[in-house]
Amino acid sequence: MSELILNERFTDGSAENTGHAEERPARASGFSRALRGAVTRPGLVISVLVIALVIVWALAPSLFAHHDPLTGNVAERLQAPSAQHIFGTDNLGRDLWARVVYGSAQSLAATFLAVVLALLVGSILGLLAGFLRGWVDDVIMRVMDVVLAIPTVLLSLAIITALGFGTINVAVAVGFASAASFARVMRSEVITISTALYVEAARASGVRWYTVLRRHVLPNSFGPVLSLSALEFGTAVLAISSLSFLGFGAPPPAPEWGALISEGRNYLATSWWLTTFPGLIIVAVVLAANRVSRAFEKNGATR
């Protein structure tokens, strides 16, 4: 599913984004400007807060949930949301709110792993392709084209078949399957930057290739790649929850978000809260990640 949002922005976006490389002004005061911008963009502030909140959930779940996520009171099974259990309870009487909060650790860890893997693998490939050009470029990008031709979900499923089940394997599968879009963006950025006048000037005055890479190419390609990472964060949440929904992620007692929805599936007719609430959390996180990505993209374009 990850191409769904990706391609919209990056297939033609890469061409549009090229303008900023030529006249790169100093970007001092970037932080204070960002701060001022935040006040005028409440949607962005809420998005950042949502992301921050789930990260804090993951780090210190006991601060937010007082019930145990793994053991429940069977006498309180399948209770509708109430003051005591704001998200209700599941078929074993476990508090769903606690399970969602505690589950964020596994969901987010898997998502971060997937994004970092995609970022590293994709960026390195894109960097190699864009910097070396020639046959290396041809080979890498043809392979990436093929990877993009196969839907991410199917590619992830193939990798999971080979690696076996489990949250880490799911994250690795999603990460590798999403690396191609990073490679594309990185390559186009590198090519734009390394053909820019100031880089040519640097080369002409005898700056070595690795200095050009470190001083000019990497810092400048950072913006678009960061924007893509935020976007990929959202799509990875979706992909990982889908794969755990299908049963390839964490084994049953673990409260991963997609797995929670999958458990609630058997009680659809009677207990609506079991599927609805974890799903809403996923939607909120994905929307927030997409919003943050758009902000990164805009900042990159106006830099």
Binding site: M1, V146, I150, P151, A158, L163, G164, L238, L268, V286
Partner: protein
């Protein structure tokens, strides 16, 4: 008037398509048969702990899969057989993988076609709705729907629809694939991400198109908003969306994985989920290659249709491939 597509161009595109198929086969082979989690060990463990596996069983499976041969030999052997339509067979039932997939393919194609029609119609309507109304708040509200649709997990939409329309209202059956009524909810579910995607692409290019000088001229001549949209802007705006049809249909196919599982329908998507669970490597590989085939065919079809919609494009020139 239909201009015949240059033979040379079509031949080149076909060759490219064959290359993509070959590469998809090779890639899936590399993933499935060479990754560290040795397929034989994993299959013998059957999802359990790999350390408790009987080494004899692993040996036997290794031999059965041909994993005791050098990799390049395994690959050439498998590729040769795949070219003759033999992708191997299910280790448990002995059914040929290709047959297993083609058997359930019509079900999936029906679902995907219904979802595609729905997604195109709704996507178009939403895209136009995000630029057409005069009230800015209405434009914004409608324009916010596609990003929302793209952020919602497909399986969750399916479950919510089931909850309301099967269990509460009892309008549609909750599972199975008999008749039209059982197709409605899955098609809607599958259409949401694709429709959202089409709407996002189209409304974006529609906004760009509406800002172009020729639209200003049309407006200056006194054309109404409807005429501006439907007679002038849409035709140009639709082109960027058209180039993404290959990805779009590929995603539709990927969406069936979750949709068919949620609604317990027979089809390629559910088959591949079972195959992953059973370590049925051949079926997984057939589906991956099939996805690449779908991508290749739909991209080629779009390229051939392109000049009919945009007369400025002549196949075989640089502009056509841009």
């Amino acid at each position: 008037m239909l201009r015949a597509a240059p033979v040379k161009y079509v031949a080149r595109r076909l060759l490219q398509g064959v290359f993509v198929l070959w590469a998809a086969y090779t890639l899936s082979f590399l993933i499935l048969f060479t990754l560290p989690g040795d397929a034989a060990t994993v299959a013998a463990a059957g999802g359990g702990d790999a350390s408790t596996v009987d080494p004899k069983l692993v040996e036997q499976l290794r031999h059965e899969y041909g994993l005791d041969q050098p990799l390049w030999l395994q690959y050439l052997h498998a590729l040769g057989k795949a070219l003759r339509g033999d992708f191997g067979s299910n280790p448990q039932t002995g059914q040929p993988a290709l047959h297993e997939v083609t058997q359930v393919l019509p079900n999936t194609l029906g679902l995907a076609a219904a979802a595609l029609v729905l997604a195109v119609v709704v996507g178009f309507l939403l895209a136009v709705a995000s630029t057409f109304p005069r009230a800015a708040w209405l434009r914004q509200a409608l324009g916010a729907l596609p990003p929302l649709g793209a952020a919602v997990p497909v399986f969750w939409i399916g479950l919510l629809l089931l909850q309301w329309f099967s269990f509460h209202l009892r309008w549609f059956p909750s599972l199975g694939d008999e008749g039209f009524r059982s197709l409605v909810l899955p098609a809607v579910t599958l259409a949401v991400p694709t429709g959202a995607y089409i709407a996002q692409l189209l409304s974006r290019s529609l906004r760009l198109t509406l800002g172009r000088p020729y639209i200003e001229q049309v407006r200056a001549k006194g054309a109404g908003e409807a005429r501006v949209h439907f007679a002038h802007a849409l035709r140009n705006a639709v082109l960027p969306t058209l180039t993404m049809v290959g990805v779009l249909i590929g995603n539709l196919l990927a969406g069936t994985v979750v949709t068919e599982t949620v609604f317990s329908r027979t089809g390629v998507g559910r088959l591949v989920v079972q195959a992953v669970g059973d370590r049925d490597l051949p079926v997984v590989q057939v589906v991956v290659v099939f996805a690449a085939l779908v991508f290749v065919v739909s991209s080629l079809a779009v390229d051939l249709v392109y000049p009919l919609i945009d007369r400025r494009i002549v196949l075989g020139r640089a502009a056509a491939t841009a």
